[in-house]
Symmetry: C2
Subunit: 265 residues, 2 copies
C-alpha cells in the first residue's frame, strides 16, 4: 500500500470515540478495514414515509442498512453505543433545501421527531476492488472520492424527487469487467456501476471538476466508471426542500460495526 | 413435465384478464412461466410507514417489488392495466386482525386511503429449481404449496410484529446444496432457505398438517426445506390487529409482468 490510512486497523467503536472527542475530523475512506461505512440522512417523522418509499424505489442510490426509531439518536443494529449526532466527523444541516452549515457535532439540532436513515456507501467495495488488483485512485492519491451531480432522474416518492449523484473511479480498460463483477456482489453498498465511460452522457460537463469531493487523476488507458452514491439524498433534499434535514458531509461517513462480508450476495 | 399448468405459457396480462372475468379462480403456481408472482398486502395509509419499515427490517420475508400510491388501485411498474381489487383469484379481508372472509373481488372494499404492497413470492424460484433437476413436489402433485406458522419472531416495526410463516419443499439429500445456491440468487423472491431439516426446531409440530396450503409427500431420503413466505404479513396482521387489511389468499397470487430473470443477482 502506498498510502495506508492510520486508522485502517482500528475498530469502528474506537474510531467513533475518536471522532466524538474531536481527534478525527477528516474524511473516512480507508478507515476500519472490513467494516461498512454509511451515508446519513435524518428527517422529521412527517417526511419519513415519503423518504422510506424513496429509498425503496431507488435501492441502488439509497440501499438502506438501518432505519432508526423516531426520536432515538442511538441506533439499534448497525453501530453500538453510537450517538448519531456526534459520531460522524462532519455533518451538514439543511433548512428548506438550503445548506445552513457544516458542523462536527449536531447534538444541538436533535429533536424528538427525527428519524435516522443509514444508507450503504461505496467505500465498502473499495477493499474488494483493491483485493482484485484494481487501484482505487482516491485512496492511492489520498483524497476524498470525486462525486458528480448527473442528469439521471431518481424515481419520485411523495415530496422527494431529484437527480442522481454518482461517485467516480478511473479503471483501466482491461479491469472494467472485474470492477463490475466485484461490485455487483455488494448491492447494499450501491452494487454494480450505473455508467461506464463518456461522462457527458450522464450530464457531467467537466470530469476534472467534481460537485463534491476532489478530482482523481485519470491516466491514459483508463475509463471513468460511475457508481450510484449516497450523496443522492442531498441532491434530493436541495430539490424537494423539506423544512429540516441533517446529512453527513460528503466523504465523512458513519463507520458501522457491520462486517462488509455480511453485505455480500 | 408430469403436470403442466394449462396457463404455463399464457401471458400475465391475459391471465389477469381471465381472473378478472372469473374464468380462473384457483391457485396460481405454475402459471405464466418466467414471470414473477407476488403476495399482496393492502393497508390504510396511517399504517403504511410502519408496514414499509417492517418490510425494510424483514426483507427475506417481505421483499418488496412495488409500493403503490395511496388511493390508486392500479400499479405503476409491476403489472400493466392491473386493477388490484379484481385481478387476483382470491382475496382475504381482515378487520382488527380477524378474517372477515375470502372474496374473488374486493372492489367494494376499496377506499381512497389504501396503499398496496406487492411482495415477491417463492413460486418464482420453482422454475429455476426444476431447471436444475429438482422436483418441486407441490407442482408435481398439483396442489398449493404447504405453508407453516413458525416460532421465529420477525423484527418489529411500529405496530407490526409477529411470527414468520414459511413454505416447505421436500428436497433429496444430494440436492440440498443446489436448492440453496439456486434460490440464493433471487433474494427478491425470498432467496435462500431459512431452515433445513428438523421442523420442530422452528416450532412446526406436525409437518403433515400445514397451517396454509396442502401437505406435500416427503419421500424416503428427502429433507423438508423451508423458505420465508409472503404469507408472513397475514400472521403479522393477525397479531398486530390493524383496523383493516386486504391480502391475497395463500397460493392465489398476483401475476406480475416482471420477468423472473430481472430479479436475479
Amino acid at each position: 500500500m502506498i498510502n495506508q490510512n492510520p486508522y485502517k486497523n482500528t475498530s469502528p467503536l474506537e474510531v467513533r470515540k475518536l471522532i466524538r472527542e474531536g481527534k478525527i475530523t477528516g474524511q473516512t475512506s480507508g478507515m476500519c478495514d472490513g467494516f461498512a461505512q454509511a451515508n446519513l440522512c435524518i428527517l422529521p417523522e412527517k417526511y419519513a414515509y415519503d423518504f422510506l418509499l424513496f429509498c425503496q424505489r431507488n435501492p441502488q442510490s439509497c440501499p438502506l442498512l438501518e432505519v432508526g426509531d423516531a426520536g432515538n439518536k442511538f441506533l439499534n443494529t448497525s453501530a453500538a453505543e453510537c450517538d448519531i449526532t456526534t459520531d460522524l466527523p462532519k455533518y451538514r444541516v439543511w433548512e428548506k433545501g438550503k445548506l445552513v452549515g457544516e458542523f462536527t457535532d449536531v447534538s444541538d439540532y436533535w429533536r424528538g421527531d427525527l428519524v435516522t436513515f443509514v444508507i450503504g456507501c461505496s467505500f465498502s467495495f473499495e477493499g474488494p476492488l483493491m483485493a482484485n488488483g484494481i487501484d482505487v485512485r482516491n485512496i492511492s492519491e489520498n483524497h476524498n472520492v470525486p462525486m458528480y451531480l448527473t442528469n439521471i432522474d431518481t424515481k419520485p416518492a411523495g415530496i422527494f424527487s431529484g437527480k442522481m449523484v454518482v461517485s467516480m473511479r478511473p479503471i483501466p480498460h482491461d479491469k472494467i469487467v472485474k470492477a463490475v463483477t466485484v461490485t455487483a456482489k455488494v448491492p447494499k453498498v450501491h452494487g454494480a456501476p450505473i455508467h461506464i465511460g463518456s461522462p457527458e452522457i450522464i450530464g457531467i460537463k467537466d470530469i476534472s471538476k467534481p460537485d463534491f469531493g476532489e478530482p482523481s487523476t485519470i491516466r491514459p488507458g483508463e475509463v471513468p466508471v460511475f457508481w450510484c452514491c449516497g450523496v443522492t439524498p442531498q441532491s434530493v433534499v436541495m430539490n424537494s426542500k423539506p423544512d429540516f434535514c441533517i446529512t453527513h458531509a460528503p466523504g465523512h461517513m458513519l463507520i458501522t460495526d457491520i462486517p462488509e462480508a455480511q453485505l455480500q450476495n
